[in-house]
């Protein structure tokens, strides 16, 4: 669906070593994603999760150092992906 206002964005970012996507960091990621209108997904270990669903994100089982693939679609997709790419390295 490509209306003039829709965007697609794909970025990669690595979880810090020693920081798995456990409940607290996953909550931060979900809160950040929820602030955008875009649909945002995060992939790791061959699975793709809705970045706005804590349970989905937790089920990725992403360990520290894992490469996360972020894909977003919608009017603020680029901003959403950019925001998450900046956030993930700061997770602790």
């Amino acid at each position: 669906m490509s209306s003039p206002s829709s965007e697609l964005a794909e970025r990669s970012v690595r979880l810090p070593e020693g920081v798995a996507l456990h409940a607290r960091p996953a909550g931060m990621l979900v809160r950040a994603a929820a602030a955008f209108a875009a649909e945002v997904h995060v992939s790791a270990n061959g699975r793709r999760a809705n970045a706005k669903s804590i349970l989905d994100v937790l089920a990725l089982g992403a360990e520290g150092g894992t490469e996360l693939r972020i894909d977003a679609s919608g009017e603020d997709a680029a901003a959403a992906a950019e925001h998450l790419v900046l956030l993930v390295p700061e997770l602790a």
Binding site: A23, A26, G27, V30, R31, A34, I54, L55, A59
Partner: protein, 136 residues
Amino acid sequence: MSDRNGHVGLILVSHSAKLAEGLADLLSQVAGPTVPIVTAAGAVDGSLGTNGGAVLEAMQRAAADGGAVVLVDLGSSILAVRAALAELSDEELARVALADAPLVEGGMSAAVAASTGCTLEEAVRAAEEARVVAKL
């Protein structure tokens, strides 16, 4: 509708005060300080059981604030919640809703949704999503 004051909160209803308090600690750490999470758990004397009065009081307080999703463990907790809901005014009923969801995963999902500033309906939906999202 969560426009009165603050965020939608959670009311955890369980037979065990320890279970509910431990879960409240966990959810608070993930959702942050903006989401009110209260427990109505254990019998009046502190033993295992349910306390309808405590459930009703928690609901009335939440209704006067940002509203709340109610999560229950099982069995007579559900009966206690239904009995308390029957005591609420229509206005209060619009601000308190029982979620058909597992306590831990439903609570986690609702608490994080509430921390984003969502509506009561969205928080209930987030809790009930826990029934279909695979754990592993």
